[in-house]
């Protein structure tokens, strides 16, 4: 059985600059630094807002209207764009983004909605479509990378999947980012670990007798060697924020999610191609305004710091940053002071890599009477656009393991969201 490894052949870094010294000092390996900005291989950082963030309490506020609730709005550096007052730092960097306020999905359930936004396809009981992160990890090579090419940070209720591209493209999951990689450290001292591994080798040899080619196909030995290589890799330092200056850590915010965004930047620097960073808790069916506000306090500094940091390190032109959840929330406020699921017009932020900068796309009805926003962008087209922004052709057709031809994207890239329309 052939399997494409997540990890490319081991190659030690010889010229690694010290990681994470400051915003101004790019901590890139020499090989990466040889190319600048957009010339670098592209990467995707997905800031996943799990639960369905309220567009009205974030990037599409309608203060003073029947649907606006008590949320105040502030001006931003992007002309014409308002954001909720809980996002002052994002407001200050919004000119780096394109803001879409008219995403449209047909899925109002968390699991199905997550699948639709993350893959561009509606859920199919007979086929698991790969997440955009998996597609990017497969498509964009990263020579010398010893870490998984796709990493998911944070506790995601419906995590990305490699789907029909294979389990090797499932993300490596770290539920509490900021610590050394989970499951990367043996629990015993080196001498005991060596004895354990020696015994394991003997057991493998004994089992392989009379089953040589079959055991080879299990990839057990190969996979373990790769895992052990990973456990020893210097690149694992990218999972830790311990050596980041205090100022940097403070800028991202003292939160698990903030550390996740900082780790995401470090992983991208190390050559990881896709990173999901999840902030959960947006499902505010009750007490919407304080719930969304609490999330904003975590998201605002982390997102602003991430974009600023990537830009300061000359990584923004090669790194697509996508901020989105599975759907938005209803214009109507329910009796519990909450908002319910609303896939008919919600917001996302796009920055970096091939995305256009400073565009403001779509608008929702400030009175909440029309279900359809102006200039609607279907989530299938949104997904194809994300792929285009990292240089992946969503029209590429791949054959699933059962021989079914499938396009990587169900939709078509939206030219006005891209710097160089495809």
């Amino acid at each position: 059985m052939h399997r494409k490894s997540l990890f490319l052949p081991r190659r030690r870094w010889c010229h690694v600059a010290p990681l994470g010294l400051s915003f101004a000092v790019p901590a890139l390996p020499a090989r990466a630094a040889a190319r600048r900005g957009g010339e670098r291989p592209r990467a995707l950082v997905s800031i996943w807002l799990a639960g369905g963030p309220s567009q009205l309490e974030s990037f599409d506020p309608h203060p003073g209207t029947p649907i606006g609730g008590p949320t105040a709005a502030i001006a931003t550096r992007l002309p014409g764009a308002l954001v909720a007052a809980d996002y002052p730092r994002v407001a200050d960097v919004l000119d780096r983004f394109t803001v879409v306020r008219s995403l449209v999905s047909r899925e109002g359930d968390h699991e199905r909605g997550s699948h639709a936004v993350r893959t561009g396809y509606r859920p199919d009981p007979n086929l698991v479509h790969p997440a955009l992160g998996a597609i990017v990890a497969r498509a964009v090579p990263s020579p010398g990378l010893e870490l998984p090419a796709f990493v998911a940070l944070g506790n995601d209720p419906f995590p990305s999947r490699g789907g029909y591209l294979g389990a090797t493209l499932d993300p490596y999951r770290v539920t509490v980012p900021g610590r050394a990689g989970e499951n990367m450290v043996p629990h015993v001292a080196a001498d005991r670990q060596a004895r354990r591994l020696g015994a394991l080798d003997a057991l493998s040899r004994s089992f392989a007798a009379g089953r040589e080619a079959t055991v080879e196909r299990t990839l057990d030995d190969h996979t373990r060697r790769e895992a052990l290589t990973l456990m020893e890799s210097e690149q694992l330092a990218a999972f830790s924020v311990a050596d980041e200056p205090e100022a940097v850590r403070t800028a991202y915010g003292d939160s698990v999610f903030g550390r996740g965004c900082l780790v995401a930047r470090r992983l991208v620097e190390a050559g990881v191609r896709s990173v999901d960073v999840t902030l959960a808790g947006f499902d505010t069916h009750a007490d919407n305004f304080s719930g969304q506000n609490a999330r904003a306090r975590v998201l605002d500094p982390a997102l602003a710091a991430l974009v600023t940091d990537l830009e300061g390190r000359d990584l923004l032109d090669s790194t697509a940053v996508v901020v989105v959840g599975e759907f938005g929330r209803t214009p109507a406020i329910n009796p519990l002071d909450g908002r319910d699921h609303w896939p008919h017009g919600f917001s996302c932020l796009l920055a970096g890599a091939g995305f256009a900068r400073g565009q403001l796309v779509g608008a929702t009805d400030p009175r909440g009477e029309s279900r359809t926003p102006s200039d609607p962008i279907d989530v299938a087209d949104f997904a194809a656009t994300v792929l285009a922004a990292v240089g992946v052709d969503s029209a590429e057709e791949v054959t699933t393991p059962i021989g079914r031809p499938m396009k990587l994207g169900a939709g078509r890239p939206v030219g006005r969201l891209l710097r160089e329309p495809s």
Binding site: P123, N126, Y164, L200, L203, F207, T214, T218, D220, A227
Partner: protein, 551 residues
């Protein structure tokens, strides 16, 4: 909603008290009592022996045709392990292995297979396997879809050995509330945003209950098989009367499935053109079949299990084979060839399907036949496995037992059992079952799925290997303490040789060879303490390829 950790924290005082009681009780007991060694009772002949013989003959013919000498007979303990893994989704406990070894009857395996099949663990495992195929793994619409209820309902049917055709009829045709009539969760799995997606159910029926992959006909005529888009729509329309309300699933005779039509290109005609069309129900592959049941679903269910619908029996047999052997007679499981005009008695699939049909869709009988057939008792070692082409040829002819990866649910169940001397089942102590439950949840979250929507399993990935090597659960399970096998064996076995023997038996269901003894003994002798040594030994055994794969 409180997380399971918060619940656990709330239960801590009770857990602490129970722990003390368990420690006192367990300390007073021999960890490996020789009591209860009575062999399982004899199994009354039911005529299935003749089918086993015919199946063996059909496979022998395959070996002859392929020019393959089948593998030698596997050791009885190896077969016992397979039976537990395939039929019950776990490995046998040391208690059970001792009882098996004490049974000196040469025909003991048949009785033990019957014992496994009658065990609640078997019903639970088979229900999980079938539920994976029938309702998938998606969480679904929380209020109206209850996978746990559906799986428990299936397990109860399997434990009672209800005829499988009745089980299928119930889930396809019954109505009611998803909590009180759990079979209707088969239908409510297709609920999305308050509406029923009949295509989901048409796909499930076609794939799982007919062994046919016809989903592409949802959008266009099937390119290879003789099924048209209209036929597929007809199958979906069998669910067109379904209405899901707060009172449950019911059928409204006035409802008909309608399909939206694309707007015509000519703008002028658009206003006049119909926007949708109604689809008449139609049972798949049964154009001549007529029935006048009360609802379209009842019609469909009646056709599915009709003796003339051989696709149903063949699909069930192929899936059962995959559960028992780790892969199907035909792969993919849901893409079976069309049945020949008359059943072919030399084809294992037809032969078994006919037996299944003639004996009232008795699933336990089918599984028992599969586990008593000769391929199940062949070694997985074979000279042809020395090189890839030979191994492929051997596997295609079933000339040796296949080597297949354990699914994550089986892996965790086997891990928990491998680190306990006592049998872990529904009779286990509440504390044991509680700990197992939370460990399983954590492990499955970290380990992730190893099989795709079609049930195809893949080798473990690097992150999965890391979970097994360094994960918190793996560390806790192999810890040497009074509750775990490593701790109890360290303290109570007579010497290191017995410790080695018991560790291999507990984890790998076999005794170590002399070479393995010498290769692993130093783990115990070089460790700073005996407990640490046993911990290292259990770590090596549970991380071995032998443990992670059925063979």
């Amino acid at each position: 909603m409180p997380s399971h950790r918060q619940i656990l924290r709330a239960l801590l005082p009770a857990v602490a008290l129970t722990t003390v009681a368990v420690v006192l009780a367990s300390g007073a007991r021999d960890p490996l009592p020789a009591s209860a060694l009575a062999p399982p009772p004899a199994v009354a002949p039911d005529g299935s022996e003749a089918t086993v013989s015919r199946l063996d003959a059909a496979l022998a013919e395959r070996w002859r045709a392929a020019g393959i000498e089948p593998a030698g007979r596997a050791d009885d303990l190896e077969v016992l392990r397979r039976a537990w893994l395939g039929l019950a989704g776990t490995i046998p406990s040391v208690e059970e292995i001792r009882r098996f070894e004490a049974d000196g009857d040469p025909g003991r395996l048949g009785r033990w297979i019957a014992l496994v099949l009658a065990d609640r663990r078997s019903a639970d495992h088979l229900a999980r396997r079938l539920a994976h195929a029938l309702v998938g793994d998606a969480a679904g619409q929380v209020i109206v879809f209850r996978r746990d209820r559906f799986t428990d309902w299936l397990a109860a049917r399997l434990l009672a050995n209800d005829p499988f055709d009745r089980t299928v009829t119930a889930m396809v045709a019954h109505g009611g509330l998803w909590t009180e009539a759990p079979e209707v969760n088969f239908v409510t799995q297709a609920m999305a945003d308050g509406t029923l997606d009949a295509n989901v159910l048409a796909g499930r029926v076609a794939r799982v209950l007919l062994g046919q992959r016809i989903d592409c006909a949802q959008c266009h005529d099937h390119p290879f098989a003789p099924i048209t888009q209209r036929q597929y729509e007809g199958l979906a329309a069998c669910f067109g009367q379904v209405r899901v309300t707060g009172l449950g699933v019911e059928d409204d005779p006035a409802r008909v499935l309608s399909i939206d039509l694309p707007a015509p290109a000519d703008g002028g005609a658009a206003a006049m053109a119909p926007k949708s069309r109604k689809v008449p129900p139609r049972v798949p592959y049964g154009d001549d079949w007529q029935a006048e049941r009360r609802t379209h679903r009842e019609n469909l269910a009646a056709w599915l299990v009709d003796p003339r619908n051989r696709r149903f029996h063949r699909a069930v047999v192929n899936r059962a084979w995959a559960i028992v052997y780790g892969r199907g007679l035909h792969e993919p499981l849901d893409d079976l060839p069309d049945p020949p005009a008359d059943p072919d008695p030399r084809d294992p699939l037809d032969l078994l399907a006919e037996d299944f049909r003639e004996h009232g869709c008795d699933l336990r009988r089918l599984l028992s036949i599969l586990a008593r057939a000769r391929p199940f008792h062949l070694s997985s070692r074979h000279p042809l496995r020395a090189e890839p082409d030979g191994a492929t040829r051997l596997d295609a002819a079933w000339g040796a037992f296949p080597v297949t990866p354990l699914g994550p649910d089986v892996m965790i169940a086997a891990l928990v059992q491998a680190t306990s001397l006592r049998t872990i089942d529904r009779d286990s102590h509440l504390l044991t079952r509680t700990i197992r439950f939370f460990r399983e949840v954590d492990f499955l979250r970290d380990y992730g799925p190893t099989e795709d929507a079609n049930g195809d399993r893949q080798p473990a990935t690097i992150p999965q290997t890391l979970v097994r090597m360094n994960g918190r659960l793996a560390r806790e399970l192999v810890e040497a303490n009074p509750f775990t096998a490593p701790g109890r064996i360290a303290g109570l076995a007579a010497d290191d040789e017995q410790r080695l023997d018991l560790a291999f038996l507990t984890v790998l269901t076999r005794h170590p060879s002399p070479e393995e003894r010498s290769a692993t003994r130093s783990l115990i002798t070089a460790a700073p303490d005996r407990g640490g040594g046993m911990q290292d030994l259990f770590w090596a055994l549970t991380n071995s390829v032998e443990f992670g794969w059925n063979h």
